[in-house]
Amino acid sequence: MNAVMAELWPYLLLVLVGFLPNEIWRVLGLVLARGLNEDSEIVVWSRAVATAILAGVIAKLILFSTGALATIPLPVRVAAAVCGFLAYLAMRRSVFAGVAVGETALLLGGFLFAH
């Protein structure tokens, strides 16, 4: 029984802390699908909160990396992210160019400086 629980536990977590807290907003949209526009103040605020959370996660993934990414030194990771972002700005806001340059910079830096 315990072995079964241990197997199923991650899936239960997926539903409880992943699926339900995410899906509730879609269902609310279905139920209350009237009279809210993109520019209403509550929408602007909630988008700012969501953006800040995601930005926090992005910064943590780069600065406090785990696993294989942690074998590439911190200055290389930060420099690669900066290079990618600058390339995105320089190349007419191309997401593809930014990601490609950032990845290449990480690979080169990792190749030269990995421990």
Binding site: A33, V49, A55, A68, F85
Partner: protein, 242 residues
């Protein structure tokens, strides 16, 4: 590609949607994003089928990244749920804006359940672009096909990233892991059309690591609430001054 708006059956409209998904720019975006998320799930010790199921059930890349990294780092379940739900509020106005395009005279509530669940940035942008030119009767089937195309892409490349990360030497696995923060950083910046969104991005980038380093409880929630609210207040003050 000609506007895919002339269909003879629901099935044709559905497959028209699938085809539209696989030939759109979002196919490449999802490919890169989910290879990265697959590598992330492997790194945090989750199963590949767990990832596939999360792509189908959660179906929101930011929420999945938050879920995987927070669960994998051992955050409290309350904090994980809170961060996921705060990241998902944006789905609410998206559904609100999408459904009027799908709803016709004879549309039943249950016909709208799938499109509601499928609502995410990729499908939403393409639906709002393509549906208005299409007769109402084919829109739901087309929209479902479009979403199944995108979701299938996410699931397949999630597996690809997962097993690539498992088999590659550390430097290359690290490069795959870097795909998630790099692509999210740039696509979030690209989606930040208003000053308030750019401020929120910068504040979140700064606050997230600081609160983590200070070992603040519920650091993700505070990053969002403090960073987002601060950005909003600055935006309001600037608007009032202008």
């Amino acid at each position: 590609m000609p506007a895919p708006n002339t269909f003879t059956s629901s099935a044709a409209a559905f497959f028209g949607g699938v085809k539209s998904a696989l030939t759109s720019v979002f196919f490449l975006v999802l490919m890169g994003t989910y290879i990265g998320i697959g590598a992330l799930a492997h790194d945090f010790g989750l199963a590949s089928w767990w990832l596939a199921l999360s792509s189908m059930l959660v179906w929101a890349a930011p929420a999945q990244v938050i879920l995987i990294s927070a669960l994998g780092a051992g955050a409290s379940l309350f904090e994980v749920a809170l961060a996921v739900t705060l990241s998902a509020i944006r789905l609410f106005p998206m559904v609100v804006a999408l459904l009027p395009l799908l709803r016709g005279k004879g549309t039943r509530l249950r016909d709208l359940l799938l499109p509601t669940h499928f609502t995410s940035v990729s499908m939403w942008v393409e639906s709002l672009r393509l549906l208005p030119a299409m007769p109402q009767e084919w829109r739901i089937a087309f929209c479902n096909g479009l979403s199944v195309g995108y979701m299938g892409t996410a699931v397949v490349f999630g597996f690809a990233g997962y097993y690539l990360a498992a088999g590659l030497p550390p430097l290359f696995a690290g490069t795959l892991l870097f795909l998630t923060p790099m692509s999210f950083l740039i696509s979030t910046a690209r989606n930040a059309h208003m000053m308030v969104d750019r401020l929120a991005l910068v504040l979140g980038l700064a606050l997230g690591p600081v609160l983590t380093a200070m070992q603040v409880q519920l650091d993700l929630m505070w990053t969002g609430v403090v960073g987002g609210t601060l950005a909003y207040v600055i935006h309001r003050v600037r608007e009032a001054a202008a």
